[in-house]
Symmetry: C2
Subunit: 169 residues, 2 copies
């Protein structure tokens, strides 16, 4: 199973403004929707789940199977499954026969997968902004990873997508 | 006069590891050297000056006219001029007839220029790394800037250069 992290960031590496606002482009959103629809699942954390639910984002990405990492014990509901660890999330998706998994934030979730070497590829859509303050892609932890650039793609005039493989060394 | 910020970062936006280490590629260094040589000047802060001096970097970039931002009052020495504000640095370079200025770190210096709307263009060489901890491109301040992507260029297999114009709105 291939585990893919997909995020948009400002040029200086923030996945959102401090207030969680994400002023990303239409082209970024299109690209994200397309990959979610093709993969059919996403893994997110409770906070991201709440933000996406409030803004009715699940409908616009075709209601993928959504695994939510949380310490709350909740029964599955519609397409939402609640688990308390990255490996449990992956086990469920593997069991359901998925070949690819889409990890998509926030910061803590990204970090918990990266720390356990559970990210194979990373897509970053670099949006044309500088945020002085914001939420980082990963938490401040002692991680150091080498990447391999697989592809770059202009999503629009000002937005570029960088696609990397994470080295396993 | 066109003020250009040139930096390399990890994919997640750090300009160095926490210990100031910058494991950048040969291709990044070549690109940086080339632009310094063509512009003929750099503006840096005292810390960057010390790091560059220790590693004999000034020789390898043809000893450009170097303006160092510091609160210490020091007389000019060889190609080194010491000043205490971004505008003084720019005034000196303007007076000497430069058409372009190269701003190149670290974090505090970049921020002091950006805050005063003194950056016209930004080059970021995105290096294929994730650092869990590191030094950010800009300090945490209430800045929000829109950019316009001018060009992207593969410097090598794994390093991509992003070139932006900073919107003045």
């Amino acid at each position: 199973m291939k585990n893919i992290l997909y995020m948009a960031t400002s040029l200086n590496g923030y996945i959102a403004k401090k207030n969680n606002e994400t002023p990303w482009s239409e082209s970024e959103w299109k690209s994200y929707s397309k990959i979610v629809k093709s993969i059919g699942n996403i893994i997110i954390r409770w906070n991201t789940y709440k933000i996406m639910k409030e803004s009715d984002e699940f409908n616009s990405i075709n209601n993928p199977l959504t695994i939510i990492l949380t310490n709350q014990k909740l029964p599955p509901k519609n397409n939402f499954i609640f688990v308390n660890s990255p490996t449990k999330a992956l086990d469920i998706l593997k069991e359901k026969g998925f070949k690819k998994v889409l990890i998509s934030g926030g910061k803590k979730l990204n970090t918990s997968f990266l720390k356990k070497n559970l990210i194979d590829e990373i897509y970053i859509d670099v949006e044309p902004f500088i945020f002085g303050k914001g939420i980082k892609l990963f938490s401040e932890v002692a991680i150091y990873k080498n990447l391999e650039l697989l592809e770059t793609k202009l999503l629009s005039k000002n937005t570029i997508q960088l696609h990397y493989k994470v080295s396993k060394d």
